[in-house]
């Protein structure tokens, strides 16, 4: 019976995937080949170019106060970038909020540099304004490469963010009646050849959380988690969330805390 079943799937896939030449009998070989392809891309990840730009932006005085971001406190003390990303999101006393890297950088731009960040928040993705934020997030993430994720759930606000993120993850709605968990709440599913991580599990959350920001080869763009999440909202046909808003940080909190103990592998590279 099992065999018939397998042939049935193979036939179905052959029809669907005729142009890609992917049938189930060949899937293992295809996955192996794709792994080879991904390996070839890892050596020489164009994300390095964005890391360098981000570092320059971080260290160059800017804004009405003409100071750099080097005095920014990302949670490990003013000026400490090394390892900071692996401990985000976290609660910050000065803002009274749980913040991820992007929302925290906006705070520093506002308080240290005196920049009006509203236009940056409102700017569309794939614009120079947003690209600068992506580059900074990429630089900060690179300074946590190889560091273990260690996100705190001690503060009540951190706990609250985690629970809100979890609720958002399972919240089903929109014209297609979708939730995050529709795609990211089960094992062994994929779109084309991209495996979809099962986020509620440690392994799935780690696969997702530790590999963003990532360079997307499809369009040659550098995406931070804020962009990744905004695009998930778009695919669910949800309204676009406000950049750095509480619900986006909460989703990151849910993912990061579930990934606790995994090793950051940022910046990543994706198809």
């Amino acid at each position: 019976m099992k065999r018939w079943h397998a042939i049935g799937i193979a036939t179905a896939l052959a029809v669907v995937g005729a142009s890609t030449g992917v049938v189930s009998a060949e899937t293992d070989k295809s996955i192996e080949s794709i792994e080879q392809y991904r390996e070839a891309l890892r050596d020489g990840n164009p994300a390095e170019l964005f890391e360098a730009q981000g570092e320059e932006l971080w260290k160059t005085p800017a804004g009405p106060k003409n100071v750099s971001l080097e005095g920014c406190d990302l949670g490990l003390g003013a000026g400490v970038v090394q390892g900071a990303y692996a401990h985000l999101p976290r609660f910050f006393k000065d803002t009274g909020k749980v913040q991820d890297v992007e929302s925290r950088v906006l705070t520093c731009m506002s308080t240290l540099q005196g920049i009006d960040v509203k236009p940056l928040i409102d700017a569309k993705f794939n614009t120079p304004e947003k690209d600068r934020l992506e580059a900074i997030a990429t630089y900060v993430s690179g300074q946590s490469k190889g560091v273990k994720v260690e996100v705190s759930l001690v503060h009540p606000e951190e706990r609250k963010a985690f629970e809100l993120g979890k609720r958002m993850f399972y919240y089903q709605g929109g014209p297609h009646d979708f939730s995050c968990s529709t795609c990211h709440g089960q094992e062994g599913v994929r779109i084309r050849l991209q495996e979809l991580p099962n986020i509620p599990t440690h392994k799935g959350a780690a696969a997702g959380w530790t590999s963003w920001p990532a360079y997307r080869v499809s369009a040659g763009q550098m995406w931070g988690m804020q962009w990744r999440l905004a695009d998930c909202f778009r695919q669910q046909r949800f309204p676009e969330p406000i950049y750095g808003s509480d619900v986006t940080v909460a989703l990151s909190m849910y993912m990061a805390a579930t990934a606790n103990g995994a090793t950051m592998d940022t910046p990543g590279i994706k198809r």
Binding site: D43, L49, G220
Partner: protein, 103 residues
């Protein structure tokens, strides 16, 4: 001027392996923008590699080299402390030169 390249050059057993990432759109000329207007081609067309003062490679590229190009090649000789210099020129005549020290 373009953004800086990332160049890594490492010498091992008498061979210097060079890896370069360049920041460039590499626009094909086949795409259209949001209003339907064609986006003109714009790409790195020439790349030169030097070890010290000596040209070791000259490349000609078309627009089907990927965006943010990656290039890896191997030079006979070269040792730690030597300089590897890469220059690109694009189809608009813009150019960029960066140098790395062999490790």
């Amino acid at each position: 001027m373009g953004n800086p390249m990332k160049i890594r050059a490492a010498s091992k057993d008498g061979i210097t392996e060079v890896k370069v990432l360049m920041s460039h759109e590499m626009e094909t000329g086949f795409r259209k923008d949001a209003s339907g207007a064609p986006i003109p081609a714009w790409f790195i067309s020439e790349v030169t590699a030097k070890l010290g003062d000596k040209v070791v490679m000259e490349a000609q590229w078309g627009p089907s080299v990927s965006k943010n190009p990656f290039l890896a090649f191997k030079i006979k000789g070269g040792k730690a402390g030597d300089k590897v210099t890469i220059t690109w020129v694009d189809s608009k005549g813009d150019t960029r030169t960066d140098t790395a020290t062999v490790t």
